[in-house]
């Protein structure tokens, strides 16, 4: 049986994961791909309407069904009510649970596979929210993985389904495939050259949505954006994924073009930005979360441009998560206020960057990204 005590969160944090591990040049622009399916069990009220006993019943039956899946062998299994504030925040920062689930009371839980690629939230807006994470741009692989898991789960649970409306969900905006596929993209050059607004408009017209990654609305610190499909009914999963894939591909091309143009127009200015970010990360004593994200984003761009060794990307990606408030406080072993966190964050980054290689500007062909 999977362990249920909160202490196993420590095991989760120290284990290698799909999100913090890869860091190859394949993840230069698309950090990760995520697909989420909403499923509900037939004959039961949706979580928002269900009585506490009904929620517990769903939690128990979903846990039992999930435990039988080979993909979820020895999975982490948390009841939200057993987790402390910080622990919930950590799971949110690692994209393993949603803010909505972290704020819920009784009968909510999450099951996370050992490699943290699969996470199944129980009693969020729907009975089940199944998620798969894959590093880099990998819609096909992600779909195969989640489709298999969903089919295996269906052996043990009867899902609410209508031939015309598809999978029935608590909110009509998720009807049909009940699938939300998204990619996290690092788009610093589009941000620096003020083209993001144009990209957002174009993407919206294609039925896709752009969001900032870490919840500050459209102000995406770290130049990281999440792009996902808006509609779920009327098209098959493969059709939605194909359309999303081509949108993502064209955003990647725009970002690469924007990088090339920045270098062409004034390479010195861009190198200066990256060099200053390096200096601040090595020497500052106070860093807010937003500033840290932006500095790390510039170093990440520096890696893509060949100013730093390629194998440092995984460190940056890990720090993008570990410099978040929940992770910092957990490492510090206790809650602390924003001002203290800024001190902790700067100290952590100073230590990490003390031995980080210096930026090396080579004279020719610096645009060797992705």
């Amino acid at each position: 049986m999977p362990r249920e005590d909160a202490t196993s969160l420590a095991a989760l944090l120290s284990a290698p994961s799909e999100l913090t591990d890869p860091g190859s040049s394949k993840t230069a622009i698309v950090l990760m791909t995520r697909i989420r399916l909403a499923r509900n069990v037939v004959g039961h009220s949706f979580p928002g309407w269900a009585k506490p006993a009904q929620r517990e019943e769903i939690l128990a039956s979903c846990r039992e069904a999930v435990a039988r899946l080979p993909q979820m062998k020895r999975c982490f299994n948390f009841a939200v009510s057993d987790l402390g504030e910080l622990e919930r925040q950590i799971l949110v920062e690692r994209h393993l649970i949603s803010r909505e689930l972290s704020g819920s009371k009784g009968g909510a839980g999450v099951l996370i596979s050992r490699d943290q690629a699969f996470s199944l939230m129980v009693n969020e807006e729907d009975h089940l929210r199944i998620q798969v994470l894959r590093s880099g741009l990998n819609l096909k692989r992600a779909w195969t993985a989640i489709n298999d898991l969903d089919s295996a789960l269906e052996e043990h649970l009867d899902f609410a389904f209508s031939p015309t409306l598809g999978y029935l969900t608590a909110c009509p905006t998720n009807l049909g495939t009940a699938m939300r596929a998204s990619a996290m993209m690092h788009l610093p050059a589009l941000v620096i050259s003020n083209q993001m607004e144009k990209v957002v408009r174009a993407v919206n017209q294609l039925g896709m949505v752009v969001r900032g990654l870490f919840g500050e609305g459209s102000d995406a610190s770290g130049s990281i954006f999440q792009i996902s499909n808006q509609t779920t009914l009327g098209e098959a999963e493969e059709v939605i994924l194909k359309r999303l894939g081509s949108v993502l591909q064209s955003i990647v091309e725009h970002e690469l073009n924007a990088r090339a143009r920045l270098l062409e127009a004034d390479a010195g200015k861009l190198h200066d930005k990256i060099g200053r970010a390096y200096g601040i990360l090595q020497n500052s004593h106070l860093l807010t979360s937003g500033e840290a994200m932006n500095l790390l984003s510039l170093l990440r761009l520096g890696i893509d441009l060949g100013l730093f060794p390629d194998d440092q990307r995984s460190l940056i990606d890990r720090l993008l998560i570990e410099a978040q408030p929940g992770h910092l406080q957990h490492a510090h072993r206790g809650e602390c206020d924003a001002a203290q966190r800024d001190v902790l964050r700067a100290a952590r980054l100073r230590a990490e960057f003390a031995s980080f290689p210096r930026p090396e500007v080579r004279p020719a062909n610096p645009g060797a990204a992705a």
Partner: protein
């Protein structure tokens, strides 16, 4: 401002203003801090303006269902539907079809599902329905002393049960 914008959901002064373009149509929503929080506007994973637009799009085109319409399973009424937005149980999609269907065309790229089908679930359901019907037939046949029919029905029941557990001896 003399007349500040009010929250679309609760009428408190709105401080969060959102614009989103869906299918070439501009949609605007004004929210107060609390509703923005509650609707997950600050949550990148969970927010969709369409969830909010749902409330606005409910009123004009939708034909109201007959008074007294309720979800047969959980007793939810159209008034509650308008108030709470998201539906309460899967069976409500049938009960409130006239409310839901007009919203879908604006919300999605089609109104009919063409994607994955939970084949195993549906197969189990159709077997279950068939079994229920056959068991009724059997009772009926025995009651009216049609023993040949009863025997045939019993064989069919066994076949269906076998299909439920194909690995069983």
């Amino acid at each position: 401002m003399a007349n500040p914008l009010k929250c679309d959901l609760c009428s408190k002064p709105a401080t969060v203003h959102l614009t989103q373009i869906v299918n070439n149509k501009v949609h605007k929503v004004d929210l107060c801090e609390a509703c923005a929080q509650a609707k997950g506007v600050t949550d990148p994973g969970g927010f969709s303006l369409a969830d909010l637009l749902l409330k606005a799009s409910l009123t004009p085109d939708a034909t109201p269902p007959a008074p007294g319409t309720r979800c047969p399973r959980c007793g939810y009424t159209p008034v509650e539907f308008k108030k709470h937005g998201p539906l309460g149980c899967p069976a409500r999609y049938d009960a409130f079809a006239t409310l839901v269907e007009p919203m879908l065309a604006n919300m999605h790229s089609g109104v009919t599902h063409t994607g994955k089908v939970p084949a195993r679930s549906l197969q189990r359901k159709s077997l279950y329905d068939r079994l229920t019907k056959l068991e009724l037939d059997l009772t009926e046949a025995i009651k009216s002393e049609r023993y040949e029919d009863a025997a045939r029905t019993r064989d069919e029941i066994n076949q269906v049960k076998q299909a439920f557990h194909p690995d069983a001896p």
